[in-house]
Assembly symmetry: C2
Homo-oligomer: 245 residues x 2
């Protein structure tokens, strides 16, 4: 009723334009630290700053489809685990016009992450420093990767630092009761690798036997019977993630 009448009489023009975008946090691990793929902005606003890959939502595509398209067009990737994170709607997010952005989070296995950073699309894999413990939340710093010409923490465009911070918070929160951690690993992995992933995200050391037991008790791990090759010591067993039914 209210809605209906309102909508029938609705003329968007007097309210001005409002645009909708998606921004993607493409998260992976770089040398054992969480890192995100960023694009450098050459023009104002935010020239010289780094930004999350993003794009406008088309009128004929869903939000999820827009996020997948951004992933494909900006990083050349497809078929990854993506989830909606939050929708950012501050008035001055973008100085040019009112833009509301739906943030998505994608997790890239280390190999995929490194490949995306090298595929020529200009994506910079930037380590993220999370200065808060546990799930306290707060701002994060984005560092230049080793060998980068940048010095000091990277300046991020718009509110993208907030988006990254929320992504890290959400990831920490979901890590140990959900299966997101596996999205950062290759198809077959060792328990040590799984623990490394958790420690990188949580930013804290974990007790090995306890972690091992907990993960195995979850029922998500299927031993492959194979072992990692190329070690100069006892090779660990390789596991596979098995979806719980």
């Amino acid at each position: 009723m209210h809605e209906d009448a309102f909508l029938a009489a609705y003329d968007p023009t007097p309210y001005g334009r409002l645009a909708l975008t998606v921004d993607a946090v493409l998260l992976g691990l770089l040398e054992g630290r969480p890192a995100a793929l960023l694009l450098k902005r050459d023009e104002p606003p935010g020239a010289g700053c780094w930004a999350l890959p993003g794009g406008f939502v088309r009128v004929d595509e869903t939000l999820d489809a827009a996020a997948e398209r951004v992933l494909r067009e900006k990083a050349g990737l497809a078929g990854l685990h993506m989830e909606q994170l939050y929708t950012f709607g501050a008035l001055d997010r973008d100085p040019r016009m009112r833009i509301v952005s739906v943030a998505y989070l994608a997790l890239l296995p280390e190999h995929v992450f490194a490949a995306a950073a090298r595929n020529g699309a200009g994506l910079l894999p930037a380590p993220i420093d999370v200065p808060w413990a546990g799930e306290a939340g707060g701002p994060v710093a984005v560092l230049p990767p080793a060998g980068s010409a940048e010095s000091g923490p990277l300046r991020l465009a718009f509110d993208h630092a907030d988006i990254l911070a929320l992504a890290m918070l959400r990831l920490r929160g979901k890590l140990d009761y959900s299966e997101v951690g596996f999205a950062l690993l290759p198809e077959r992995f060792t328990l040590r690798q799984l623990q490394d992933v958790h420690e990188a995200i949580l930013g804290t050391a974990l007790n090995k036997p306890a972690f091992r037991r907990r993960m195995l008790d979850r029922g998500w791990l299927e031993p492959t019977g194979e072992r990692e090759a190329g070690t100069s010591f006892r090779p660990p067993e390789l596991y596979r993630f098995r979806k719980p039914r």
Copy 2:
């Protein structure tokens, strides 16, 4: 760069119109069951269906502000705990045009909930039946309140049943590690009332001593030293929610 060039050349017209709304899940308890405030739609689409209170996001207001405005305009309420839930962007959510909606969740203390249902704005307090256990998720049914002319489960407009279902899922998930449960209680309350709230949301009975101990150990409860009046038996102590530092 990509974004910038894209934006500079951006003309929204060829993409058609895309509108942004907020929808509010106004949740409370009705006779010990979770319930939501709904508005009846008189005109198509969805005429005869029930809908969540909602409204368009204005170009000069944030999403949070739009949600608060909806709360105020549609329910005559202000100053409540509101949090963003999820953003719904299916193509055919609304048959008239492409509308993306940011869903918000507000929790109303029983007294406020009942008052809002009576204030003449046409809000129907409808109990929600959650047929799934734990955090399995799935659809929910919305029932007519006692004394209503409706019969059988209510038909909801658009994807509002999905929004309600997600709200219940999110609420269950956050209930026992966050302080949201207190938002459904008056300022002073007994432990039994707190437990009733939890049981209503979770849809399951809880062990009294364990619940009590857990809540007290959280450090969120401050005894007032007063006791509930009007009982015909030993009156329980009244507690107050104290924000943890």
